[in-house]
């Protein structure tokens, strides 16, 4: 028998610990299924639950909110799903929330995702039915993927042709990639463009500075731009200029006519200009006139000293003085 008392204590410890662990495990499993927390019920209707089972998780905005309590066939096309949801979340789930059958990862078990609605709405009450959304099935997804794949194949074929032509150096892009001269030229152009831009930038800055330095108020430009009286004057000046211009044009036309007649040798002046004989005659006439006038001067001098006329000249001199 040994020491029965101690062995009984040990046995008691063993039994109590084992039982507590078993109950704890049961509690933890149950609490994961929201069996011991206060819950309320929501329902929703699907056309296809995709293998959903009683006990599967219900998630609201990604957090575990409860479990599926029951799944019943309502009519031949509608399936009603009853969900047990944690009461703590009741105030957060609104009446416009959407229920959706999903799966936990690619190979995970099925679950119901409740997605918050968009607008403001009242919180759900116990036993409410929320709207459901049938997600596209895997088959639909694969069909779409198939079309996408075909398109992708066509696209890659096109891309291949493009890249090949680029590699062989045909077309602008190919030249750009393969022709080093073109590349260098392009580089040079870009460098020049950069330089030009810098210079024009500098010029603009300088111009800007000049403009800002101008004392606009006192300048002629201000007068030109702002004074209405002056503008009136300018306008009359311009109109005067205009009429003057017309006059000048008329004069020019007349001068033109004159010049034309001169050219043609009409009139005295025309003859003089055009007829060399007349000119020569005129020249000799002038020479004769000149010698005539010299002789006349001599005669006048002689007259001054003549006693008959001397008195008259002296009287003239005195009057002049």
């Amino acid at each position: 028998m040994g020491t029965p008392k101690l062995s009984f204590v040990k046995l008691g410890l063993f039994v109590v610990t084992g039982s507590v662990l078993l109950i704890l495990a049961a509690y933890l499993i149950g609490s994961e299924q929201k069996m011991f927390s206060r819950t309320f019920e929501l329902t929703t209707v699907f056309n296809n639950v995709g293998g959903l089972q009683v006990g599967n998780n219900v998630r609201y905005a990604g957090i575990n909110a409860g479990t599926v309590r029951a799944i019943t066939m309502e009519t031949d096309t509608t399936i009603r799903v009853y969900m047990r949801i944690d009461t703590e979340l009741q105030s957060h789930i609104k009446k416009d929330a959407l229920a959706m059958v999903g799966s936990d990862g690619l190979v995970g078990s099925m679950l119901i995702n409740i997605i918050p609605g968009n607008g403001p709405a009242q919180p759900v009450d116990s036993g409410d039915e929320i709207r459901s959304f049938s997600r596209i099935s895997t088959q639909d997804m694969l069909t779409t993927l198939n079309v996408t794949n075909e398109n992708a194949a066509l696209l890659t074929a096109d891309l291949l042709t493009i890249t090949q032509s680029i590699r062989t150096g045909s077309g602008v892009l190919g030249k750009l990639l393969n022709d080093s001269t073109l590349a260098r030229d392009l580089q040079e152009s870009v460098r020049n463009l950069k330089l030009t831009t810098a210079q024009s930038n500098e010029a603009l800055t300088r111009l800007n500075r000049k403009i800002s330095e101008l004392r606009f108020e006192d300048s002629a430009l201000a007068l030109l731009l702002d004074d209405p009286e002056f503008s009136e004057q300018i306008r009359s000046l311009v109109s005067g200029l205009d009429s003057s211009g017309q006059d000048i044009r008329r004069l020019t036309r007349r001068l033109d006519g004159l010049a034309g007649s001169l050219e043609a040798g009409e009139g005295t002046l025309g003859v003089l200009l055009r007829d060399s004989t007349a000119a020569r005659n005129l020249q000799s006439s002038l020479q004769h006139l000149d010698s005539g006038l010299q002789k006349f001067d001599q005669n006048m001098e002689a007259l001054k000293h003549n006693w008959l006329t001397r008195g008259y000249f002296r009287k003239l001199e005195r009057q002049q003085q």
Partner: protein
């Protein structure tokens, strides 16, 4: 002709053994329900079965959890499913590995012990002496032992499961940087009552089988020292075999009830 006769004899013996075992079990139920109750002996046997086996169960469970995780890791990593380790290990240990390993260890330790103990008591005519002195040897020796194994094995399974999960969590924690809290959260999320309840019920049957076979073999031990050894040996072999049979039936039945 000789062969046919021997096969016939073997079948006959086999059926006789099953019949005797069934009658023994029936006698147990009759005796255990009828007063007076041997509480003190029951507690002593519980201590022998429960506390004395605990260390062995803990060590084995820990190593099983450790090894199971280490062995599955490379394959799960290959499939990119290493995050499912707690689910896989949790479900397999709680549903099957924990109860079966614990039961097998107890079959080795307890059934053989009982076979040898009762066998030597039979051989040394202590059981006959008890009958003469007015004490019901079946009630005192057999019923208490079977009841003790039936009650203690589920508790041992709980300890074994927990320590195996702890060993698995330790590996995940060291190799995969998974925190203990995340590990056990995932395990309990993966488990359901459909895993825990059938496994626990199954453990009661395992305990009953171990006690039943151990005491049966010892109680009906043949005369002589060789008989004691044979009783201990066959107790372990038959108990282990019966365990797997009961396990199969239990899984079969729980599948019907839990539809899993």
């Amino acid at each position: 002709m000789n062969n046919v006769a021997s096969i016939k004899d073997r079948v006959y013996l086999f059926l006789a053994e099953i019949g005797e075992l069934a009658a023994f079990a029936g006698r147990f139920f009759r005796e255990v329900a009828r007063p007076p109750y041997e509480f003190r002996e029951l507690l002593r046997q519980c201590y022998q079965v429960g506390n004395r086996s605990l260390t062995l169960v803990l060590v084995t469970g820990f190593i099983i959890g450790l090894v199971l995780t280490l062995q599955s890791r490379p394959t799960l990593i290959e499939f990119g499913a290493v995050s499912w380790m707690p689910n896989m290990v949790g479900i397999s240990i709680v549903r099957e590995i924990g109860p079966v390993i614990t039961a097998l260890i107890c079959a080795g330790r307890i059934a053989s012990g009982m076979g040898a103990e009762l066998g030597s008591m039979r051989v040394t005519e202590q059981i006959d002496a008890m009958e003469v002195s007015g004490t019901n040897p079946f009630k005192y020796l057999v019923a208490t032992r079977i009841l003790a194994t039936t009650l203690m094995l589920p508790l041992l399974v709980v300890f074994g499961d927990l320590i195996a999960l702890f060993g698995s969590a330790l590996v995940e924690n060291l190799k995969g940087a998974v925190s203990f809290r995340l590990y056990f959260n995932t395990v309990f999320e993966a488990l359901s009552y459909g895993d825990l309840i059938p496994a626990t019920v199954k453990s009661f049957f395992f305990g009953f089988v171990i006690g039943l076979v151990g005491t049966y073999k010892g109680y009906y031990c043949k005369k002589g020292t060789a008989g004691v050894g044979k009783a201990a040996n066959t107790a372990v072999v038959i108990a282990s075999l019966l365990l797997f049979f009961v396990d199969f039936v239990a899984v079969f039945v729980s599948d019907i009830f839990y539809d899993l």
